[in-house]
Amino acid sequence: MFDRRLFTNFDWTLLGVVLLITVFGVINIYSASSSYRDIGTPYYLKQLYWIVAGLLLSLTVCSLDYHMLEDFAYWLYGGVVVLLLLVLVAGKTTMGATRWISFGFFNMQPSEPMKIVIIMTFARFFSRYPVFKGLTLKELVYPLLLLGVPAALIMKQPDLGTAILVSLIAGTMLLFVGVRWSALGTLFAAAVPVVVVAWEFLLHDYQKKRVYNFLNPDLDPLGSGYHIIQSKIAVGSGATLGKGFMQGTQSQLRFLPEQHTDFAFSVFAEEWGFIGCLLMLALYLFLILWGLGIAKRCNDRFGSLLAVGVTAMLFWHIVINMGMVIGLMPVVGVPLPFFSYGGTSMVTSMVGVGILLNISMRRFMF
């Protein structure tokens, strides 16, 4: 199974870009958390451990032929949906949301693997599904059900950010498969009442408040509008060249909230300025285009679909996180892949990279 060609075809560029981003991430976390009281292992070191763990996982994923995933996809889907149900029944509640289940020695958040699993499920579904001139409305029923069940369960936790992400990933894959204009039009027309109903009955007050604050942060500058205002100040005051490494006053003096996790990019923007941001955007854009390139070069439909799905996952994380940090989107707890501190995000993203590497190096295998 281990072909020499696998090694020669290994996608060093992809790994290189990812590692470059993680290095910037670690450096940034070092600065962002330098004002914290040091208790135990510092964040940047923990992030390094997670990177190493993520890489190992990533290499494990890419060592096994991704075609095996095609067989497991539905089983995995079924399993994660069961776990999501379990969360609702017996989950651990922290900060008003029930997202975790405890396995005694180990806690897990099943909504996170759902991001990968929905990709595999859709890839599996459409790899065997002949599509001619785009999906019709009727043909969309099964895929939307496949998406709707976990998305609804995740929203119930409530975890709006992940629910939206899962939907965006699936939606992007549908666009890649092709949807007829008539079907798209009907769906959008149907979406309006759904959104209204969701706003009225499904969204929690704190979620609505976030949207209000996004629309007008000055409503409550010290309360929930605080994040948006302080982050904008941090980013903007970085100006063209930035305040310099460890010199960001907004971050070092802790005016920024959650500055090593969701708002890590805000710290980076303050300290490295527009030039630094330009570099980061370039790296991320390169990553996305490279992922789409892998999808294009892949010769089988399942692989292409997988690659598009994983790239979509990374893309939407990047866009939503950055959009939030610079005040283009409401505050939803979405981390920046490879950059924000956090093991969960790192593991998910690295598994995604593993899948991309897997597809990339096996493109000549058949």
Binding site: L175, G178, K232, A239, F255, G273, L278, V308, V319
Partner: protein, 634 residues
């Protein structure tokens, strides 16, 4: 390599859609980049300002106030370091333990510290919270030695007012207090901040702008919780300017000593400049008590004392001038040609006017009285008759020519103007016409006439210098910390009486006789070395009908004395009033004598008696005027 597993029916469509997705990704990233450009390039300046104001705070540092000196440069008010204990909440580890320690070391009640702590809890964590102020140097050193047990404690030094001579000249110097809300809203205190100390009365208030100095401050960096991190920049405070008074410390002391605990006022003034050499209002208060927290019992005592220690009697006390006003009546008579130095009247002890009988203080009568005798023995009948002929308006004309009836512009707030009645004044004030019978008491400084001690001093100074009214003033100059003179208050002539020289001569001869001749009422202010001229007075507080025996304190007459010296070439003028002192000759004149003595001792004209025994002897010899002759008058 051939793709065997290709089951995608629309391969080109897949490729096209990848391009579509790529374009979508580009577009999204372009949107992000545009927003970053907007924030980091276009709005950068504004957002940099916002981030600066986020982290920087300004902590003002009060400037030490300028000193107040006497005319010879002797310190009257300066600053002294006051040590207070402050805690910086962000640095405190164990609050309860710290309060225990502080209470023990400072010998304070635990509750007291706790209360102050809770009071200041709303402020930022870096803000020092004063829990005990005015601690002694010993306590301060003890705390310094025990620093380890007191983490989070700061000993702060701040300059507070030091009054070199305690309560000396307290009404003149004034006291400090925290700027009030109303004051903060006024134009005058626009630049002040809540918590600043400002002059609340006297010189401290009137010369506030000079004394205050320029506050400095520290720009500090704080974190999101408002905790102090470091000092970014510091602007030094610059000490206020020095105000040099016209007051002579030694004379002030002598004047205060002479008045003792009697209620009253004394003003000594340079005849040829208007400079005030001594300015006493008695009893006085301790200005230092106003700076910190006034002990309630003392405050109560101040308010309830019937001698009104908080009132500036020299400037704001309005008293009927009594017989001291006869100087004005006499001048009016001479100027109007109604009398000359030889004109005599008969005093039978009273004067009948219409249905009323106006009595002379000496019921036996003075017999034949000329101008000199009328002043020397203070004959009332002489002045009743003269006033009757003058009419109130003509008396007022001369009183006003001598600066009475209006504030003189001494430079302190709320200076009173007194009252010089005229027919018009009465009509305006009471809506009633003037009765001729009301003119008679005006002639002896009673009735509606009211004057302040400062006005009386100025009046007698104008008599002494024969016609020039100098603006009485308290400040000689203002000097900045480098010694540069910012303001020089030169003598200012605010009026000329323009009278005949002979008028002054005749009146002054009379005033000399008051002090130096047998039967003179002012003998108790006589000095052997220098010729003193003066006039006694006592003014009715209430009309009492021939009451005998003890009169309650508050109904007793006020005793007054005005004087100048040396007679030949006058230098100093004095006005003394002793509230409820009864007789000018016995209560006020000796005080005037003591102040004059201090003045001439300071000039070296009178030798300072060194041995104590000698002082007594001399004083005994000096108090010559036998009360048998004339120290009593009505």
């Amino acid at each position: 390599m051939k793709n065997l597993n290709n089951i995608i029916p629309d391969d080109d469509g897949g490729g096209r859609r990848i391009i579509g997705l790529s374009i979508g990704a580009f577009a999204m990233f372009f949107l992000l980049l545009s927003r970053l450009w907007y924030l980091q390039v276009i709005s950068a300046e504004d957002l940099i300002d916002q981030s600066e104001s986020n982290r920087l705070r300004f902590v003002p540092v009060a400037a030490p106030r300028g000193a107040i000196l006497d005319r010879n440069g002797k310190v009257l008010v300066s600053n002294t370091p006051s040590f207070s204990v402050a805690v910086i909440p962000q640095d405190v580890k164990d609050k309860e333990q710290l309060i225990d320690n502080l209470a023990r070391y400072l010998n304070l009640d635990r509750k007291e510290i706790e209360t102050k702590w809770t009071k200041g809890q709303g402020r930022a964590k870096y803000y020092p919270l004063v829990v005990a102020s005015g601690i002694t140097r010993d306590q301060m050193e003890f705390l310094e030695e025990n620093r380890l047990a007191l983490s989070g404690v700061n000993i702060e030094m701040k300059p507070i007012r030091a009054y070199a001579n305690g309560s000396l000249a307290s009404h003149l110097l004034g006291y400090l207090g925290e700027v009030s809300e109303d004051e903060l809203n006024s134009e005058r205190y626009r630049e002040y901040n809540a918590g600043d100390y400002i002059g609340k009365s006297g010189i401290e208030r009137a010369w506030e702008t000079y004394l205050h100095g320029t506050d400095g401050g520290r720009q500090i960096e704080v974190d999101a919780r408002g905790r102090f991190l470091r000092t970014v920049a510091e602007t030094g405070s610059s000490v206020g300017n020095t105000v040099m008074l016209t007051i002579d410390l030694e004379m002030q002391k002598a004047a205060e000593q002479a008045l003792g605990d009697k209620a009253g006022a004394a003003v000594a003034m340079d005849v040829n400049t208007g400079e005030i050499l001594a300015f006493v209002s008695s009893p006085d208060f301790d200005p230092a008590l106003f700076t910190g927290r006034m002990p309630p019992d003392i405050w109560k005592k101040y308010l309830e004392d019937e001698r009104h220690p908080l009132e500036n009697k020299a400037l704001k006390g309005m008293y009927p001038p009594g017989s001291t006003f006869k100087v004005i009546t006499a001048i009016a008579g001479l100027e109007e040609g109604l009398i000359d130095e030889h004109t005599t009247i008969q005093c039978t002890g009273s004067y009948k006017f219409g249905n009323a009988t106006f009595r002379c203080w000496d019921h036996k009568g003075h017999g034949s009285v000329d101008l000199k005798k009328s002043l020397r023995e203070s004959c009332d009948v002489y002045y009743y008759k003269l006033a009757e002929r003058l009419g109130v308006n003509r008396i007022a004309k001369y009183a006003k020519a001598f600066g009475l009836g209006a504030p003189l512009g001494i430079g302190l707030e709320n200076e009173k103007g007194g009252v010089i009645p005229t027919e018009e004044w009465k009509l305006k004030r009471f809506g009633k016409k003037w009765y001729a019978g009301e003119t008679l008491p005006v002639g002896i400084g009673q009735g509606y006439v009211l004057t302040t001690p400062v006005q009386l001093a100025s009046m007698i100074a104008t008599v002494a210098n024969e016609g020039t009214i100098y603006r009485p003033h308290l400040v000689k100059r203002v000097v900045d910390s480098d010694g540069k003179v910012l303001q020089d208050y030169t003598p200012q002539v605010i009026g000329k009486t323009g009278l005949k020289p002979s008028t002054y001569r005749f009146v002054k001869e009379g005033l000399l006789a008051v002090v130096n001749e047998p039967h003179g009422t002012g003998g108790m202010s006589r000095l052997w070395e220098v010729k003193v001229a003066g006039k006694t007075g006592s003014s009715q507080v209430v009309k009492l009908r021939d009451s005998k025996g003890d009169i309650p304190y508050r109904f007793r007459d006020h005793a007054l004395f005005v004087a100048f010296a040396p007679y030949e070439k006058p230098e100093i003028a004095i006005a003394v009033i002793v509230e409820h002192g009864e007789h000018g000759g016995s209560a006020a004149a000796p005080i005037s004598g003591k102040i004059l003595r201090a003045y001439f001792e300071g000039k070296g004209v009178i030798k300072k008696p060194v041995p104590k025994a000698a002082v007594k002897e001399e004083a005994g010899g000096e108090g010559v005027a036998e009360p048998d002759t004339g120290a009593k008058e009505e």
